[in-house]
Symmetry: C2
């Protein structure tokens, strides 16, 4: 099965959570919009997903990228794509209870990602950052002081309460939620180097997980490759120095 | 199986999406925090979810309400709870492709719910509304002008492209995503009566779905009962007249 991932080609964004899983598993996939004419192909599919199978179109229509094509099946929404891929890539068990626990973790990571985005766009995604900078500064400060500790403290506690998982969130082998938590932490470091000061002291288990993910052989090769897009100021995690500061208190 | 739902007792909030599914199915459930001493019970479980099964605790820890207990299994995150309940309540098919499509719709509804919340709290959930009212007014205006049409237009198109579903989003029988879309539309009408003017003309298929959900026998009885909490200004959908206006253009 060659998976087709559809996502904006110029940024990590939400698509990166899917890329990390595919890369870690050594899956056969194509990042469609990064190929020649790929953006046009993606936008045509979003406008009319019926393609050559008009009767399948009702179960296709995505709201936004990323979406994944797996043969005739289309899956939209990041957490949903990872839920689908998890057991297929050996990045989640097939057993329902653990699979749903991992999905709950992934949805919590997704909530944190949305909040990280909204630090620089608290008023409207469609407006310029420059036109909401004052609000952004207040929101980013609250995010650093209260939200980062709440999210990362939660994940640190989940790891602490699960010694059988040996440092991962849920299972003795890494799951896609572990890869996603790595990506969240990478993004937070990029956006808020001062806000993340003392991260490893405050969240030691999450810090260890981050190191363990980065050391995985296929993932380390991916992160060092040109396939890994750099963080930039078009993505979810943006480094605007005026939004970054050390945590209060 | 008696399900135990854990959610804040004084508001509809995200728990209401789960309540609607349980009520529509006539499921045996208890809304724990609304019982005597229920809030204390919920908070004790969140602080220490191990209870009488310490070895199961690693797969329990919720980040926030709502969460559901189904015997020994705990499920957190609204969309995850509904994914679990769907086939069990006959509100989703067991077949994977349709189930994942419905999950994708539900996650898109969840995104809209978060954005609706942030219209009145664009800066920080932990700050008073009064301290972010100016930002809220701008965000609410953008939500009315661009985000409501984007979300409801998407769902209207999904229904239009799926004539086999007979007016529902995905399947010939209503799914939990249909109930959730009803709840989103109810909340938007409560919060933004002026912003939702001409709703039925602009999104006729969503309007028909809303009427069809409200007419379902068990759901109509629930909505008329005291179990249905009223919308209020502690929940996600809040009616602040200064945030409401007609769509621009």
């Amino acid at each position: 099965m060659r998976y087709e991932l559809y996502y904006w080609p110029m940024l990590q964004g939400r698509g990166e959570f899917v890329r990390l899983a595919l890369e870690d598993a050594g899956a056969d996939y194509v990042d469609v919009a990064r190929q020649a004419n790929g953006m046009a192909a993606m936008q045509a599919l979003m406008a009319d997903p019926s393609g050559d199978a008009a009767d399948a179109a009702p179960l296709r229509q995505p709201f936004a990228p990323p979406f994944l094509k797996a043969g005739e099946q289309w899956i939209a929404q990041t957490a949903n794509i990872l839920f689908f891929l998890g057991p297929r890539l050996s990045l989640a068990p097939a057993e329902e209870a653990r699979r749903l626990f991992i999905n709950g973790l992934q949805l919590t990571i997704a909530d944190a990602v949305t909040e990280a985005h909204d630090t620089h766009h608290p008023i409207a995604s469609g407006l310029y950052y420059e036109d909401q900078k004052a609000s952004a500064r207040v929101r980013a400060g609250d995010f650093i002081d209260t939200r980062i500790p709440k999210f990362l403290g939660y994940f640190d506690q989940v790891i602490a309460r699960n010694p059988a998982a040996g440092g991962w969130l849920a299972t003795p082998e890494a799951s896609y939620a572990d890869l996603s938590l790595f990506q969240l932490v990478e993004g937070l470091h990029y956006a808020f180097p001062r806000g993340m000061r003392d991260f490893a002291q405050r969240f030691p288990r999450v810090a260890a997980l981050r190191r363990n993910v980065a050391a995985r052989e296929r993932l380390a090769a991916y992160l060092a490759s040109r396939r890994r897009l750099p963080f930039n100021e078009q993505g979810i995690f943006r480094h605007y120095p005026e939004l970054d500061r050390e945590p209060a208190g």
